[in-house]
Amino acid sequence: MPDIILALLRIIFLGLVYLFVWQVARAIGTHLGISLRRSRREGTRVVMIKSETQQGTEIDVQDVTVLGRSPEADVNLDDPYASEFHMRLVAQDNGMVLHDLGSTNGTYVNGRRVIAPTSLRRGDTIQVGKTVMEVR
């Protein structure tokens, strides 16, 4: 057996071992609901597309996320028109539900003021004061 082929086979063998380890790790990841490729459920990310200071901020909603001006909110909204605890986003099997927490200046989804809890879909816009967010 020529040395060059042996060397090649040897590297292929090690490669296969690592491919196996990778597959096992990936299988465990998907089993536990963690994906190694950072993919996530559709429609549970909010991106600030218009904001004076927080432009481009991405928020991944896991279970329940509270947004507001208070530093104690899960996500801080830097907008003078936002209330201390302005709204709550709850992740669902497909997408999210938005609850307005009795904010002074209101929350607008696709330009309409939120009165009751509202389901969000990919592409919806959320407006709080001067801040505009988009669901992705």
């Binding site: 042996l6 040897r10 380890v21 597959q23 096992v24 089993h31």
Partner: protein, 435 residues
């Protein structure tokens, strides 16, 4: 991951075993022979069969455990085969038989528990304990009496039992099965006494210590460990038993004091046995200064380190190193042999597979709601983890070398049987605890 992915990964691991054997043959200028097909078939039948047994008897068991275990067995097997060629032994074909036997017994374990639950081990835990202790003491039977079951002394350790059935004889290490029974007993005991053990605490500084009365089980286990050390001269089993027990006690109570007390008792026993027994002394000398004692005590460890060093990053290649220069390479030092031929890359993949296996086991413990199953799963995982750490640590000279074999990879039938049954028990627990 679904059961189907598990099946596919088991086939892949069987291919890995056969590919390794083929590569060794090529490297040794041998032609493609029946070994390749035989190895593939044995792995497929054994682990594929176990996979089917899980489908039939424990369908809700985790599908994450069997694949890494198959891969570890495959990596160990190809190295055993490779050492066979160098040493002109015939261990690989024995190991193939043992793989089949162990997978059959693991499947039978699943079948036995199918009609009942694993909690019967808790209910009859005193019987489990007696059977385990009897198994541990079995090798102390006289070696030269007429009865077909005899004790056997190998390399100064009295661990083996010889069963003579006339035309042929079997050797096995009953302690490999006894350790499972002991874990079941301790888990049952702790599950019944958890509250008392957890609440009886005294705080000394920041560390909570248990009431002296609650230390009695710890003292008993410590005594049994020392007894094994004296009567059978088996440092490894005695250390495994004690460390496993202390860890399980800590897992059950969350009392740091047990770790401190256990560490202290272990230290006392360690120093005392170092002073009293020359076989412990030799181990420590070989650990501290293997190269100064290269000619005698340190030879095995030094050869193991040379092998790992020669292996370097990607190894000499399957069949191209000299792992046969390490004494007892296919049993104690299989990790160093893999390190020589597959290098750092190979050893890292081995450690990753062990880490995954233990993590899945502990995951089963975390998700269990029943206390006994939780502690049993944790204990079984600890047994795997402690064995792996002790032997790999011993080879890497992090801890003194103990006579423990690497689970799933080392040559040895009893250990393979014990460890695959351990896996079957973990699978059964995860089946019973599945939502």
């Amino acid at each position: 991951m679904t059961r189907n992915t598990e099946g596919a990964l088991i086939v892949a691991a069987s291919v890995l075993a056969a590919f390794g054997v083929t590569l060794v043959n090529f490297a040794q200028d041998r032609s493609l022979d029946a070994q390749t097909a035989l190895t593939f078939l044995v792995f497929l039948i054994a682990f594929g069969g176990l996979h089917l047994a899980v489908r039939a008897f424990a369908p809700k068991a985790t599908p994450l455990l069997l694949a890494p275990v198959t891969a570890l067995t495959a990596l160990g097997f190809f190295q055993i085969y490779r050492l066979d060629l160098a040493m002109e032994t015939d261990r690989a074909s024995f190991q193939r038989w043992w793989i089949l036997i162990a997978a059959t017994l693991a499947s039978l374990t699943l079948l036995v528990f199918k009609g009942t639950t694993i909690s019967i081990l808790r209910r009859y835990r005193n019987i489990t304990l007696l059977v385990s202790l009897a198994l541990i003491l079995l090798p102390n039977l006289p070696a030269d009496w007429g009865f077909p079951l005899r004790g056997l002394s190998v390399n100064g350790s009295r661990l083996w039992v010889l069963l003579d059935v006339g035309f042929t004889s079997f050797q096995f290490q009953p302690a490999e099965l006894a350790k499972l029974g002991l874990v079941a007993y301790v888990a049952g005991y702790l599950a019944d006494h958890q509250r008392a053990l957890r609440e009886a605490k005294r705080h000394i500084g920041p560390i909570a210590f248990p009431e002296p009365r609650q230390l009695i089980p710890l003292l008993i286990t410590w005594g049994v460990s020392v007894l094994i050390l004296i009567s059978q001269r088996d440092l490894g089993a005695s250390l495994l038993l004690f460390v496993g027990f202390v860890l399980l006690l800590y897992a059950a109570t969350g009392t740091t004091g047990y770790l401190v007390a256990g560490g202290f008792m272990g230290l006392v026993a360690g120093v005392a046995s170092y002073l009293a027994f020359d076989h412990v002394q030799r181990r420590v000398i070989a650990w501290v200064a293997p190269f100064e004692h290269y000619e005698d005590e340190g030879f095995q460890i030094a050869q193991g380190l040379f092998a790992l060093g020669t292996g370097s990053l990607s190894g000499a290649g399957p069949g191209l190193g000299r792992p046969d220069l390490i004494p007892n390479a296919s049993t104690d030092f299989i990790f160093a042999a893999v390190g020589e031929e597959l290098g750092f890359a190979g050893t890292v993949s081995v450690i990753a597979l062990f880490a995954v296996t233990v993590a899945v086991g502990l995951g089963i413990a975390f998700r269990s709601r029943d206390t006994f199953r939780k502690l049993f799963a944790a204990g079984l995982s600890f047994v795997l983890a402690v064995q792996t750490i002790l032997i790999i640590g011993g080879i890497l000279r992090l801890v003194p070398l103990t006579g423990i074999t690497l689970p799933f990879m080392s040559y040895g039938g009893s250990a393979l049987v014990g460890n695959l049954i351990l896996v079957a028990l973990l699978l059964r627990i995860s089946h019973e605890e599945a939502p």
